[in-house]
């Protein structure tokens, strides 16, 4: 507990309480959109909504089966990738480019297009030195909205799979996408962006200003339409920053209040969806049980990270540095160890990936927590939509394990869980280790892979492992010492992001289709209760066992080995 402070623990505890408090209000709002009900925004937004349907030739009341939904979703995302790639390549001849950047080079543009469409927002570029304002707005901000809406739409479909009976119909993708964007994301971001400006985040079309410092040196200060992008990158758990250092930049995250608001906004919709789920399946306790399991895992992670970061680095202490400040390499003074460790845990528990400190410079244990969070599948509250549908895949596995233990056909929420659902759930969960460990192994034996590393020794291993975890998990944060701009990294990370997104989405949609077609069976005395502490414990245990067995060997080689080296004072 060395050097942790009561204030730090109050911040962490208070944050968890606020997360619980947000679940119902956001859940109610999401539930109204899930059902397609009228809301108080309908008089204003309704005409725009209908215009979109008219132009698209869509009848929002005509629902799709899971295949039709999947095709629509994939086509929409494919168009997003093509458009974003093209826009970056030709930004040099387009307007709103005050810094006169030329077109973005191929591997970076390819990587960025997949990255933003898959809600990863891995950035293999520095925003203020690469992207024109037009790309930041019409390219990146657009995907921040629609990739988030896509995630929530999939969560809606899986919820419908549990809530509906004996039907093929799972909703209309175009209606879900439009409603989520226009009724939830856009109005919240509108208010949120203006709050951020009030707190100090710039919002201008100017490119930069030239200042003359007090000592007479020149300083060029990059500016731009920052607040509008930061709002949606947080609320939509995208994470792609306007500036290279993301929310560590004082313009993106000027103070401790903006920091708290940003952390809460990462969790807001994910926490709300657990409540929406409970409401939709007819028992809000079902939703609370899921949120409880998530927050148990969260509390354990954030506590470990905070203790590690507050304890600091013994190698530096031996050099004469005061241990009481904690590990401040890569951290901002206004945040310090507690608010930095908390942000790092939040951003990786969700699939956000925004950072307010450099995870690469965290102590080995402090860096292990974000890494392990991502490897568990970012299901601790999780990315908007992605967190809930990912978690429900684990819930299906957990109920299957419970069924095996008592020798009964497992059922969850009145639906029999059978071979087809288990196969699909395992397929979705297995894509994580396949991509993460497979690509890390490949990179560690390829010259092109190793040339991206900044650090040698076990930390270099951690950098590679983190990159593919972040890519596959669609997180987007990085051990940013790694330079991922060569062809090998650009390509393999692009593939990892694609696999991690769509090879979870398709099985999730297929499970929804299979569940919705089933006839519900009434709960009996032999049904496993999925609301109480026993269920929460089973979920937590299963998630840790699956994640632990899969990833512990690789974690031992990276952060594990580095922790031992650090304690011995060994450097590389």
């Amino acid at each position: 507990m060395a050097n942790t402070t009561p204030e730090g623990w109050i911040l962490i505890g208070g944050f968890i309480v606020l997360t619980v408090a947000m679940a119902k209000p956001f859940g109610l709002w999401l539930h109204a959109i899930y059902e397609g009900r009228r809301t108080w925004l309908s008089p204003i937004v309704g005409p725009v909504e209908r215009l979109l349907y008219k132009v698209g030739g869509v009848d929002p009341a005509r629902e799709q089966g899971w295949r039709g939904y999947a095709v629509a979703l994939f086509l929409f995302n494919a168009i997003g990738i093509l458009f974003l790639y093209a826009l970056q390549r030709v930004q040099g001849v387009l307007p709103l480019n005050p810094q006169e950047f030329s077109g973005v080079a191929h591997p970076v543009a390819f990587n960025t297009a997949i990255s933003f469409v898959t809600n990863t927002n891995w950035q293999s570029y520095g925003g203020e030195t690469t992207m024109s304002h037009l790309v930041q707005m019409l390219g990146l901000t657009v995907q921040n909205f629609v990739s988030a809406a896509t995630g929530i739409a999939i969560a809606f479909v899986l919820i419908r799979g549990f809530a509906r009976r004996e039907t093929r119909e799972l909703g209309n993708f175009w209606a879900d996408l439009t409603r989520i964007t226009l009724y939830i994301l856009l109005p919240s971001c509108f208010v949120y962006a203006l709050l951020l400006v009030f707190l100090g985040v710039p919002q201008t079309l100017a490119g930069s200003v030239a200042a003359t410092t007090m000592e007479g040196a020149g300083q060029v200060i990059a500016l731009g339409p920052v607040a509008s992008q930061v709002a949606v990158k947080m609320l939509g758990t995208n994470g792609g920053g306007f500036f290279n250092v993301n929310a560590a930049h004082p313009f993106e995250n000027p103070g401790d209040l903006s920091n708290l608001v940003q952390m809460l906004s990462i969790f807001a919709l994910g926490a709300g969806l657990t409540w929406t789920f409970g409401r939709a399946v007819g028992n809000t306790k079902q939703g609370w049980a899921i949120l409880a399991a998530m927050l148990v895992l969260f509390a354990a992670g954030v506590s470990s990270a905070y203790i590690a970061e507050a304890s600091g680095n013994p190698i530096h202490h031996a050099a004469g540095v005061d241990p009481s400040g904690g590990n401040m390499e890569g951290k901002e003074t206004r945040f310090g160890p507690a608010a930095s460790a908390l942000f790092a845990t939040v951003t990786t528990a969700a699939s956000c990936g925004a950072v307010n400190s450099m995870h690469d410079s965290f102590t080995p244990v402090g860096g292990l927590i974000p890494l392990f969070n991502i490897q568990l599948g970012e299901i601790i509250v999780g990315g908007v939509g992605a967190g809930l549908y990912g978690f429900l895949l684990f819930a299906i596995l957990a109920i299957f394990v419970a069924g095996l233990m008592v020798g009964r056909t497992p059922e969850y929420l009145g639906k029999k869980i059978e071979a087809r659902e288990i196969k699909l759930a395992v397929l979705a969960i297995a894509i994580l280790p396949l991509s993460i460990l497979g690509f890390t192994a490949l990179a560690s034996v390829m010259l092109q892979g190793l040339e991206g590393l900044q650090d040698s020794g076990p930390h270099g291993m951690s950098e590679m492992l983190y990159a593919y975890s972040s890519g596959t998990g669609n997180n987007g944060s990085a051990f940013a010492g790694l330079t991922a701009s060569n062809d090998f990294w650009g390509l393999t990370l692009g593939i990892a992001m694609f696999l991690g997104r769509f090879f979870v989405i398709f099985p999730a949609l297929a499970i929804a289709g299979s569940l919705a077609a089933k006839k519900p069976i009434p709960a009996g005395a032999g049904s496993f209760p999925t609301t109480g502490p026993l269920w929460v414990g089973l979920l937590v245990g299963l998630i840790l066992i699956v994640g632990g067995l899969t990833f512990l060997p690789s974690l031992a080689l990276g952060p594990g080995a580095e922790q031992l080296a650090m304690l011995r004072g060994q450097t590389f």
Binding site: T178, Q219, M328, E329, E332, S361, D455, H459, S462
Partner: protein, 196 residues
Amino acid sequence: MSNDIKGALRPAIGIFVLLALITGLIYPLAITAIAQAVFPHQANGSLVREGDIIVGSELVGQGFVSPRYFHPRPSAAGDGYDASASSGSNLGPTSADLEAAVVERVAAARADGVTGPVPAHMATASGSGLDPDISPAMAMAQVDRIASARGMPPQALRQLVERSIDHPTLGVLGESHVNVLRLNRQLDRMAPQSRP
């Protein structure tokens, strides 16, 4: 399946174009217009002016090397405090390069007269490379150097630092810090700078 694709093509393109216009142009431009009208100071980067000259931004750190000023934290942004290329060092905890940098910064602090443990903020680079703040301990550690460079009583400088501390919101949301640019501007006002 191929019918599904054909049927989805028109909505995919039509809705993408409209959503792109709404979220990618109308939304950021509307926020810009409102922000410029209501919060022009923040919207334009919280700039600090001295007469007609822009001295910097309240929020963005800048370099100070003269012994007469409080120095900011080490910076990995460009050549140091390059506000058009934010960056942390990203060096890992067992990096030999980082250890060497820390040893060098500790030695520099010792040369400046810091005794005892060196404040962590003084020995480490910030996340953004543009950290506008230092810890109160790091400010106090520089008082003796500035006092002797300016020929001022250290006690007055300590009081200035005390007055300049920003405490965390609600006492817990962050950490106490001192804004270096503001501190140095107040320092100059206290004792009009004589020619060095």
